[in-house]
Symmetry: C2
Subunit: 237 residues, 2 copies
């Protein structure tokens, strides 16, 4: 174990800014902890008074101001942002990320810690148990929907968006299926309704999900559509 990557000791802010920028440019992730103000201006705006926070600057150009309590950041700037790290006339460390006319700036009044490290590339990792997995499961096992059901198209494009599963039942009725991996909601019914009212031929509309809210089920049935309960791969609901 070593601590050579901690660059917060006994150096001027200007020098620290240079090292952080170099670290960022060379592919390292930088984490900065200290008392700072945060200013975001863009689609919305948010200003945070001086307070102790941690800020992460990623080599992708993403910048994250961590929340004190939540999972979601207090502020952020996405991948691809233009990062600058420098000092201002008061020798304060300024980290800024610009992207598409939006700006996020952290101004540090002091610095408690500053570390950098080469983060492993997790770009190809992915979660399992997605809705598309359920689509594939239905395509391979169409009887999950009902006996005699045949899938005609997956992600069928319409002017009202893409239909999850388009098929035909054993009485030759065209069927539109909206799949949800979790409990279906009013939104799910609206989505189905939107496809049903598109120019795509259909006589039956189905929401396929492990569960459905009461109000969604009422709306669904008022609209003349059906709910089909399906098993979805999950450990908890």
């Amino acid at each position: 174990m070593d601590d050579y990557k901690n660059i917060s000791d006994n150096i001027e802010n200007k020098e620290m800014a240079n090292r952080m920028l170099n670290a960022n440019l060379s592919g390292d992730t930088v984490i900065l902890v200290g008392k700072c103000t945060i200013s975001y201006e863009g689609r919305s705006w948010k200003y945070l008074e001086p307070g102790v926070r941690s800020v992460i600057i990623k080599p992708s150009g993403a910048m994250v101001v961590n929340s004190s309590h939540r999972v979601k950041p207090e502020n952020w700037q996405p991948e691809g942002s233009s990062i600058t790290i420098d000092t201002n006339e008061d020798e304060e460390l300024i980290v800024e990320a610009l992207n598409s006319g939006e700006s996020l700036q952290a101004r540090f009044l002091n610095i408690i810690d500053c570390i950098h490290y080469e983060h492993s590339d997790d770009r190809n990792s992915s979660v399992e148990g997605k809705e598309s997995d359920i689509h594939n499961h239905i395509i391979k096992n169409p009887e999950i929907i009902e006996n005699g059901f045949t899938v005609l198209e997956h992600e069928k494009q319409t002017e009202a968006g893409d239909i999850d599963i388009y098929g035909v039942d054993n009485e030759s009725n065209r069927v539109i299926v909206e799949v949800k991996r979790r409990k279906a909601t009013l939104d799910s019914v609206s989505q189905l309704n939107r496809y049903m009212e598109s120019s795509v031929q259909s006589s039956r509309g189905i929401v396929a999900a492990p569960d459905i809210t009461d109000s969604a089920e009422r709306l669904l049935s008022d609209d003349g559509y059906e709910f089909i309960q399906i098993e979805t791969p999950k450990l908890v609901t």
Copy 2:
């Protein structure tokens, strides 16, 4: 500037685990950097092979495994999770967060850095320029919708969800308004349609937004509803 909060130097993992747990319990945020594996099991599941990552443990019980490049975490556990920090039989540091039958575990093969600090309370901070601000703006200035428009109800409840603005025009037509702070989409139209088909009396449906996508505008007009362009407080679109 000091580094006394870096507890990664020259101590055993067991001792470090104790200090981290104490820091967490006493209200500090802990950041741990090192080679680790990550296992999440719950609504979905994801396993990350050994790699260098940073993990944040917040006193609220939130745990975050940072992504290498994105803003969103690679894995996480929400506020209110039960945190354990300990070593296993191989003396590896294990951080685990349990919540509602879901689990997230980080197993550290080595540790590059471990810091903790008292994060300022940003619980009361909030972004400005929200949709509710626009609602209030319309309530105070109903002519934004059109001359003679009068607001009857805000967030009117229906069995199909809540109507943003419910009002009446100068010809006594009941009007349902769905407000969006950004470009309206197919979803916005579906939402309006859902309210229009509810039991609430209405003869006009309006989407009020700064812009609308082409397909959403077509769907809107096919359904016999209207788009009204409004100014929204923003610096960029």
